[in-house]
Structure formats: C-alpha cells, structure tokens
Symmetry: D2
Subunit: 385 residues, 4 copies
C-alpha cells in the first residue's frame, strides 16, 4: 500500500483559484491528503475555511506560523510532510524558508519569490536542510511536454536552432483590477506581485517551458515591456529576443492584453533535422515534423507504445480520453453526491435508470432490426429524457 503524503496548505481560501486547483490535483490519485491548513490572512476566516473542507478541528490553523509550530510537535507518523504554499507572491519566500527550517518539505506556487535575491535565500535553506522544495511550474507536468524534452534529448530534431514560445492572454485588456477583480488586483500591484507584471506572472512559464524542453538555459536577452492598461505600473505586455547556451535563437512573447486569447501558451522548437510543436490548449498532441516526410501527430495516452515509458507512466487514460475526461466523470459523481445529500429535493441532474433503459431499448431494437431484416424497427417507448 502506498503511504499517503500528508499536506498542510497556506493560502487558497474561499475564492482563490489556484488553491482550489492544488487541492483537486493533490487528491486526484489518492497519493496525498490535505490534513491541515492556514487559508486566510484573517485567523477566523482561516479556521472557518478549514472546517468547510472537513479538516480536523485541531488542524484548522489561525495562521501559518501556528501550523508550522503545532505540526512540528506531532508524532512523525501523523504530522504533515509537505507545506503547500498558494498565497500571493509576496509571502512565498518567507513561508518557504520558515517551513524548510521547521523540517517540512515545500511545494510552492510560482514564482519561488518576488525577486532573485529572495530566491537565493530559499536556495540556501534548501541546501542547509536537505529537504524537498518544488515550485509549481504547472506546464512542466504535461506528459507531452515531458515527451518533447525526451525527444530533444534523444536527438530527434538535431541541435536546436530556433525557439518561438509565447504565452498570450486577454483578461487584462481592460483595467479589471479597479473593478474588484481580486486576481487582477494583486497581480498588478508591485508590492505583492514583485517587479514583473505579465513577464513575472506568465512570461516565466514560457521561459521555463523553453529551457526545460531545450535542456539549455537562456544566456542573453533583449526585451520590450509595455503597460497598456491605464494607470498600470507593471508591464501587461512583453516581448523579447533571447539566445541560449546551446546557440539557439529565440523569441518570447508574454502578454495579458491580447484581447480574445484565453490561455495561449505554445512553443515551437526547430532543430537542424526537424521541428516540434506543442500548445497548452490542446495538450495531448505533440507535433513532430521531420525534415522530410509527413509531419507526425504524437498523441498522449497510457496505451501509446511509441511514447517514452517514463512519460506513459504519467498518463491516467488511454488515447482519446484524456482531456477533461476525469472531470466529466467527476461531474456525474458530484451530481449523485448532491442527490444523496438532499434526497427527495431538486431535480435529478445525473443519468438515471431511464437512461439505462433507454440505451438498452436502443440495443434491443438494433438486434431485432438485424435479426428480422426489416427496414425500420420501432424502438420501445421510453418517453423524452
């Protein structure tokens, strides 16, 4: 039996986008378990939110300092293994350092810190404690991104010459930070977000994606930052030329004023002998275009024999099922759970026995149609769904 890793969370209270994602992600496979948390800067709301998640009352903490000290006192086989930091950027570094020093592993939302200097302090703490520190560069978790890295490392496209990477969003086209949009408010505030706007929020994803797949760091760059939104201090649009240690030339665009775009992270990598292309909005497909011959569409899927074994082991579904399939399934379970709780009230949102009957009446009619060789066969009455 796999031991469940125990997690304590900092941040991610009511209304936080990324905290909720972290909770779903950590519980997806049954390998980790959220057991403690300090979710808000306000102590009362922090505890209340912990209660709403069903945490034991002794582990609904008032603040992260309390969580670190109280958890430390618990016996080893009970205390949290891992502190998950999902706050705004300004407290990433102090919490990470304190957690490491208290003996806990850390998973931090990106960026590791507001500034390079702060990040160097974290590095020092990691070195001193020998503990695990991970930063949530989410996009490096996509199996086909890992496959791309493996293909480059295997020389499938030869030495890399050119990289075009971009991350374009449109949600800051208007100054929503002045309309109470909480996500926008802290991201456009240099005190909380740090000195980078779009470049710090999403440009770093694009950069790490390029470096990760290429297996080579950027060495030089030339940039242009703009703040289009009226009154904005931080950049909401950035473009840059870059050069890598491996000799590749690159172009990177990171912008949050590309009206109409959703979450357009994409990368194309060209080597001497072929090219690779991947888009986050269609993450299960990786294109490999050799110099000669037709382009190949590599598809995610635990059953795709042509993928690296290491990559395949990270997939949860066979080809064709991957995108949101588990979420679709989870919706049915959520509908049923709601019905279980409120039995007798509300309208059933899940497919019930009517649907079961319906599909079997369908099969039954087909079998009769085939057996009797009549042209049209009546399906048994089932009423509208």
């Amino acid at each position: 039996m796999v031991r469940k890793v125990r997690v304590g969370m900092v941040g991610g209270g009511a209304g936080a986008f990324i905290g909720e994602i972290h909770r779903k992600a950590l519980s997806l496979d049954g390998e980790l378990e959220l057991v403690a948390g300090a979710f808000h800067r306000d102590p009362e709301r922090s505890c209340a939110f912990g209660a709403s998640l069903g945490l034991a009352s002794s582990r609904q903490y008032r603040d992260w300092q309390e969580m670190l000290s109280k958890e430390r006192e618990r016996p080893t086989d009970e205390r949290v293994d891992l502190i998950s930091i999902v706050t705004p950027n300004d407290v990433h570094a102090p919490i990470a350092i304190a957690a490491l020093e208290a003996g806990f592993h850390v998973m931090s939302e990106k960026p590791a810190a507001r500034t390079l200097d702060e990040a160097l302090e974290i590095e020092e703490a990691v070195r001193q404690t020998g503990l695990i520190y991970a930063v949530a560069q989410t996009y490096l978790g996509y199996p086909m991104v890992r496959q791309a890295r493996a293909l480059v490392a295997d020389g499938a496209i030869g030495p890399i010459r050119k990289i075009i990477v971009e991350y374009v969003q449109g949600w800051l086209s208007q100054t929503v930070e002045t309309d109470g949009q909480k996500q926008a408010a802290w991201r456009t505030d240099p005190v909380v977000a740090g000195p980078g706007g779009a470049i710090g929020d999403i440009g770093v994803h694009a950069a790490s994606l390029a470096e990760y797949i290429a297996g080579s760091p950027m060495t030089e760059l030339c940039a242009s930052l703009t703040a289009f939104g009226s009154g904005r201090v931080l950049d909401d649009d950035a473009s840059l030329l870059f050069r890598m240690e491996n000799g590749a030339q690159g172009v990177l665009t990171a912008s949050q004023i590309c009206a109409g775009e959703e979450n357009g992270l994409s990368i194309r990598i060209y080597g001497e002998e072929g090219g690779l292309s991947w888009r986050q909005e269609e993450p299960n497909t990786l294109w490999h275009a050799p110099l000669d011959g037709p382009a190949q569409r590599w598809r995610a899927g635990a059953d795709r024999g042509y993928l690296s074994p290491a990559v395949r082991s990270q997939m949860r579904t066979p080809a064709g099922h991957p995108e949101g399939y588990i979420e679709a399934f989870a919706n049915l379970y959520r509908d049923v759970a709601a019905a279980v709780r409120d039995l007798g009230e509300g309208e059933a949102a899940y497919p019930g026995i009517d649907m079961g009957l319906s599909t079997l009446a369908f099969v039954d009619a087909i079998l009769r149609n085939t057996r009797d060789d009549e042209k049209w066969t009546r399906v048994k009455d089932r009423g509208a769904l």
Copy 2:
C-alpha cells in the same frame, strides 16, 4: 461544511481501467470518499487490493454480498451511502438490484444491464425503494454537452432536423482478445458483455448523447451490424439510420475497427435555424453555427459569461485551462509525493529551486535590459536544467 458521501465499490481491481477512473473522479472534488470495496471475483485478491488503497481492514471485503450485509449493520453516519459498480456487464443488474434492496444508492457503470429485460427489473427496484440510481454515461458529464442541451432547449437552432453522431475507435482492428487483452476479452464475449458488441459498448454512448442533447427519444431505426474480426461473434462495427420523436432524421456509426481512430465520439445537430457541433476529443469547444453570420466557437471556462450559469458551475477552471490542466498539476504533486516517500533516492522529477531561481534570473535580466536600454543583457548563470 459539505458532508462527504461514502462510497463502496464493486469491481475495479488491479489492471481495471474504468475502476481507476471512477476512483479518481470521485475523489477529485473532495465531496465523496471511497471507504469500502469488493474489487475482485477472487476474495483474497479483493481484500489485498482494498488494503493497497488504504481502506480500513474491516472494509476490505471478500465479495459484494459481504459488503452489502456488513455495511448495512453499521450506524447510519458511518455506513456507505453509495455502491459504485464497475464490474463487467454481466453482473451490473444483480448487484444493482441487491444494493438497492439493501438500502444503498447506486452508481453503475454502463450499460445498466446486459439486456432490456434486466434493466426493467432495475427500474422496478428503483421504483420500490425510492433510492438513487445513476448510470455512468460519462459523456453527459461534459459541461459543453450540457451547454448544447441548454441551447437546443432554448431554441437556439430551432426545431431539429438532422443528427449525425458517431463513435469510432480502432482498438479492435486486430483480434487482440486472443492475445490476452483483458478489456477486449470480456467485451467480445456475449456471455459477459451481452448481445451487443460495439453497439452495446460504445453505440449506447452515441445514442444517449444524441437523445440527451436533442431532448427527444429515437423511435425507429434501421441498422447494419458486422463482425470483421476473425472469429468474432459480436458486432465490432455498426451503422444505423434512425428517426426521433421530434421528427429528426439521424445517422449513427459505432465501430471499433476504424484503424487509427482513438476515441472519436462526436455529434452534429442541425435545426431549422442553425447547427451545433461537439467532439469528445476537444471537449471544451462547442460550435454554434447560425444560419447567417459567422460560426461561433463557444469555449468552456468557469469565467465565460455567455455560458449558462448551471453549466458554468460545473467547471473547475477558467477558459483555456481546462483540458488535463488538473492532471498536469497532479503530476507535479505525484512527483513530490514520490520524493517525500523515498527521500534521498532517485532523481528529482519535479521543478525545484533551480527552476525557481532560473525564472527569477530571467525576470531580473529583463528588468535590467529595460532599465539600461542596452540591446543585449546577460542572464545570470544558472546552468542547464
């Protein structure tokens, strides 16, 4: 606080595809919890598998009959609420009926039963007990499918005239059932699968999708079934013409010998005033083509104001993030959990402090490049990733 619904599972032991999916789906949102199970026809393996999932030893059952009777004896606030049936088709009906009669709600893998007659018996048990019975027509859980149904109901495309629905797969192109492929073996065996092959396994998904979105049942059909695989008794390829109560004409194709296809479920619905189109392999997009004017690409996303509120409430991420995003995140957590367990061994598979430093050195170089207005700025050394 939301009460967690307690689930007991039947089937879905080691190597089962759909059982694993059910477990991930039910735990995704923290609203349900697997607490008991009988996972194998072999009692020893059943208990061992329950142990491997970390279930309490008293709830690692030898068979489903034992689970039903023992759970029934537990106090109300502890016993399972819901029996999840993820066995092959042959025992769906008897387990569902026994579970209902023992006082448990039921979530059953599809089909509800092998035959229409069996399904009618389940219907009777549902009526008698007043309990919840749901069948996992997974694809009805996709938010954009529900949006399509809402658009039809609102008259967005006028009265429906034509439906083209298909579910094409290629995995039975060869007779893999004779090579030890367990999934293929029982699906091609009429004793276990029931009298329908491709039509019963995937045709029913296509049919329910059409009926669900159209809000109207099929009334007549005309079919052609073929078994291409050498020695196969059940159809592996089916096509049919159908007519609906609402007057629509339809074409349905369900085939498992469409070499090269993965999980190609798709539907197009044409009304007097427009058309809708959806594909499972790109589930976050729904096309709406009005009679005049450009086609519109509707996109899933909890933040898309143009979607129905009921549909939006079923989405976990904003636009552009949906497909596999949580899974990508979960991969990072899984990597970290593995490292936590095996501290000091193996290579780190997660992005660590190096990545944190790297991205901040990147931002730092951009800010210096912009401030100094030099053309090329050196990025601080970080070494290869």
Copy 3:
C-alpha cells in the same frame, strides 16, 4: 509547344456559377481556350454574352444546335475540339449525344443525365463514336484524392472495411427557391433536376469519391430520403447504408439542410491496417493513420517527395502555397488591369511603389540595427499605407 485545345461551351451565361468556374479552370494553365459558345436559352442573350467574353462574332451562337452545325463546317485546325456542357441537368444528355454524333469530344457537368436510362444512351453514343466523354466529378481532380486512391491501391491501409463519407451543406435550410434563388429553383424542380434532390446533386459526388478512392463499386444500399423544406418534392436530406463489392460497409450522408455547413464533403476510409481521411474544405491535407505509430499529415505540394510522382505532376505550387494562392495573385493582376483600363480614375487597390519603398526601408532599418548594435533603430519615414 503545346497545342491549345479549343472549347465550345453550352450554358453558363450571366449569373451561372458553374459556367464561370469552368471558364476559369480551362484557362488556368494555358492548355485550353474558349473559342465558341451558346450560353443562354434565349438567342439574343446568348450572343450578347459571347460578345462580353470577347469571342469572335461568328462564334457567338444563338443556340447549341447552331454551334454544332457551324463548327462542324470549319476546317479541322480551327473548329472546336471539345463541347463543354454547363446547363441545368435536363439537357445534359441530349446535348452530349448530339455533340458526340457531330464529332466533338464532350466535357459534361454532372450528372451525366437525369436518369440512368438517359446515361445508358450516352454510353452507347460514346461507344459508337469512339470520342472522349468526361463528366465533371470535380472532387476527383484534387491531387490528395488521387494520392488517397494510390495509397489504397498500394495496400497502405490493407483491405478496406469501413467508409464514412458525407456531403453536408446548409444553403437549402430555408426555401430559397421561392425567393428567386435561381440555383435553388432548378435544383428543386424534378423536371429540370431529375428525380434526385440532394442525393442527385451532391450525393453522387460523395458516392463517386468513395468508389474512386476505394477502387470498388457499391453493390447494395439502404436509404432514407426526406424533404424538410416546406412544399419540396425532391429530397433535401439523404442518408444511407451501403455495401461494396470489396466487402466494405459504408455510411453516406448527403444533405442540404445542415444549417451552418458550407460545402462539407469529407471521407474516411478504414482498412485492416490503417485509415485515411480527407476533407474538401482543407483539400491539401490527407491524413494517414497507421495501426501503430503517430498519424501522419500528408500535404500537397509539387515539392513533396513522398507523394506519388503522378500526383505531384498535377500540382501547381510547392507545399504551403496551394490554397487559393493563385487566386490571391490573380486578384493583384485584376486590380492592375482595372487600373490600366481606367487610368486616372478610382483609387489604387494594388500595392504600389509606396509598398516597394516601405518594405525596403524595413530591410534597411534591420541592417542598420544589426550593424550598429543599437537597441532601437528608426525606420525611415514612409507614411501610412
């Protein structure tokens, strides 16, 4: 030097869609030349239209009978070689037969005739005269369709099992035939169109595409025809199951009431060892999915070495240029021709010397920027375009 083939046209006067397409197509490569024609049922309009095309006045004919008899009297090296028939369906057969009997080759718009009996008469005339008779099944002219046929013939996908072919349009969703839409009027009139509606107009394209690529005829079918448009006699929607001589099972949909569709002709062919897929709306791409390994995207292009030599010889452009590229070019020429004719009037619609200067100032600035290694270099003033 290639001798130009001389063409005489019947039908295709002012406002006719397909006649105009025939004229552009025959003149594209400089291998054929339109020299004579009878374009309207009304003799005066027929001659006037011939004049508008710049035909010699002696070859602006009052009707097709006159064209056949007068052309016959001309010397061999002057008279038309080929009669191109682009009328509505009702006169395809009589004109084709008369043309053949008068000693002319024939290119006929499809269908060859209104009924099978009429077509058999044409076959008899072809046999008697030994002349060339071609029917414009346009879609068989696409290079990637021919490549698909070659791949099937070469066994690339093994014996064929299943074909899904469809031709869906939306332009008859409303009864435009009663609003003066000429194209719709004759196609919905059984006297002119023959006994098939959508099935005769576009279903035959789908059928010939399937038979052409598969290299095997249909032997049996089972159909459902519907007329959705109020007051329509002929089908505007058709679906059918079919079987081929080679044992393949098929589904064919041909409908003109699929609201929102444009000209959706597509085909998928599945064999024992792989599948092929082609869509007319993206005609330069042919998908080949082997049983194992990634799907391959074959692309049209005279320079694509992996295509059959015979197919490559039918392409006019290298890869990436094909779709509408010549038409884009032709638009510039047309703009210039208009300017040449109306010198001094109207606004220039073509890119002129300003554009030439503009692009060179752009290159000039880049070269200076690179040479001087300054960050930002001013582009020489050129004013707005």
Copy 4:
C-alpha cells in the same frame, strides 16, 4: 465587353516557379492576356520559351530591351499595356525604370529593388511618368486579408496594441544552394538577392502584411539576424521587435531554417476591444475574437453576406469551395486536353461515362430502395472504376 489587358513578361522561363504562377494568375479571369515576353538571359532560350507558350513569333523577344523598343513601335491598340517583371531581384529596378520610361505600366515581383536607394529611383520614375507601378506582395491579394484591413479600419477591434506576425519556412534548413537548387542559389547570393536574406525574401511579406492590415507604418525596430547554414553570408533566420506609428508593439519572425514548416505566414492583431487572426495556409478563414462572447470564424465566400461588398467582389466561389477548387477543376480539363491531343493513346485519367453511369445507378438504387421500402436494394452492376 471587358478589354483584355496585354502583358509582356520579363523572366520566368523554364523551371522558374514564380513566372509560372504569374502566367496562371493573369489568365485566370480572362481579363489579361500574355502576348509578348523575354524569358531568359540567354536570347535563344528566351525565344524558344516564348514559342512554347504559343506567343506570336514576332513577340518572342531576345531580351527585355528589344521587347521595350519593339513594342513601343506597335500601334496603341496592339502593343503591350503592362510589363510583368519576374526575374531575380538584381534587375527588378533597372527593368522597371526602363519600362516606365518607355511608357509601359509595370507589375514587378517583390522586392521592388535590391536596396532602398534603387527603390527611390523607381519612385521617381513613377512620379515622372504618371504610369501604374505595382509590386507583387501576393498575400495582400487574399480576400480575408483585405477583410481584416476593413475590420480594423472600421474599429471592430479598437485601437491596436499588439501584433505578432511570422513567416516561417524550413526549406533552407540544409544548404541546398550548394546542391544545385536554383531557387536557393540566387536567394543566398547577396549580389543577386541584395543585402537581406530571409528578411528580404519573406520578412518583407510579413512586414507589409502587418502594416497593411494595421493601416500604420513601423517606426522603430530592434533585430537579431543569424545565418545558420554553413557558409551562408546572408541571414536565414531573423527575429525583431518593432513599434508602429499607431503605438502598437510588435514581434516579427522570418526564418527559413524552421525545419518542418512549409510556408507559415500568419498574423495576429490585438486591439483594445478584440483580436483578429489569419494564417496563409488556411487563407479562407479569418478569426475575430471580441473581448466578450465567443470567437467568430469568418469565412471567405462570394455568398457570405457579412463580408464587405468590396471583399466579396474579389472572390470567385461561394463559401466552402474556395481552396484549390478551381485548380481541381482545371486538373480535369487538363486531363481531357491531354486525351484530346493524344486520342487513342494512354489511359484515361478523367472521369468518363462509366462514372456518369455509376452515379446514376446509385441514385436509381436509392429511389428504388425508397419506393419499395425494402431494406437492401441491389445497385445495378457497373464494374470497378
């Protein structure tokens, strides 16, 4: 009747890609006619090529100087109106200037000249003579590019903020210029091509596309040029940041070493209120994404009422037919022309009466199937195609 504009061509002899495209484009609509030419630097080959095109022997010129002087002596209603220049870059300017000074309008392949200074001399000649001068920025001829410009001018996306434009090709990934590839040889030779490599050959297309749609010139830029091909003097890869007079920020990539790319010209333009996106490889689609609401897919088509009337008038086909449709048609005509010339020899490559019969037998079977209401109806024998 539209008067045909008479064209004399310089360059574009045997094996030239772009000369052949010019000839097809100018003859497509029957509005221009090639009547004279000097096609090679070698006088004998020049005349021989003119003969192969069927030009009158008196107009098969030895060189362009001869063409200009001889054509000038012809009567007005006979001499060429327009000189089409399709040579390599080095002689664009001298020929254009000489042609203008001799009284002829000019259509020149791009770039107008090798250098900015040369282009200024052409501008002077245009001013002096008052004649028409056009440069073949082909991509500005695409109807949907013109529609994009119209939408921007109409304020559909508000003031422009950001432009991402790229032109990526892979054909110079290897040093094919040393293997006798003629197109590559002159493009990589600075004496013939001028000082820009990829930037001059394709970067200018990207730049003019951006400026044309935006309706605003670039004012500043910052570039990085690289020559990856061993031994290359000119850049084969270029990226740049740019700023426009209208305040927009831009990124432009032009590269010919992007292995696996074909002819990847694309542009995205983001304004305060929405975005536009167009790709040359799918030229009949223009995306318009408003700030709120679903993205709209605008499609080319002479029958699309939502397009600008001026744009619609430049389309030759209704929606869904545009891409390569005329070329597919032209292939059938070419097959027939070949058969007419070689009657009795070779195998028929065009669909003949067998195809005509086949499709009518298909319709006939459908009608019988429907009339008799039998399930399967035999299609009359037609043999394999």
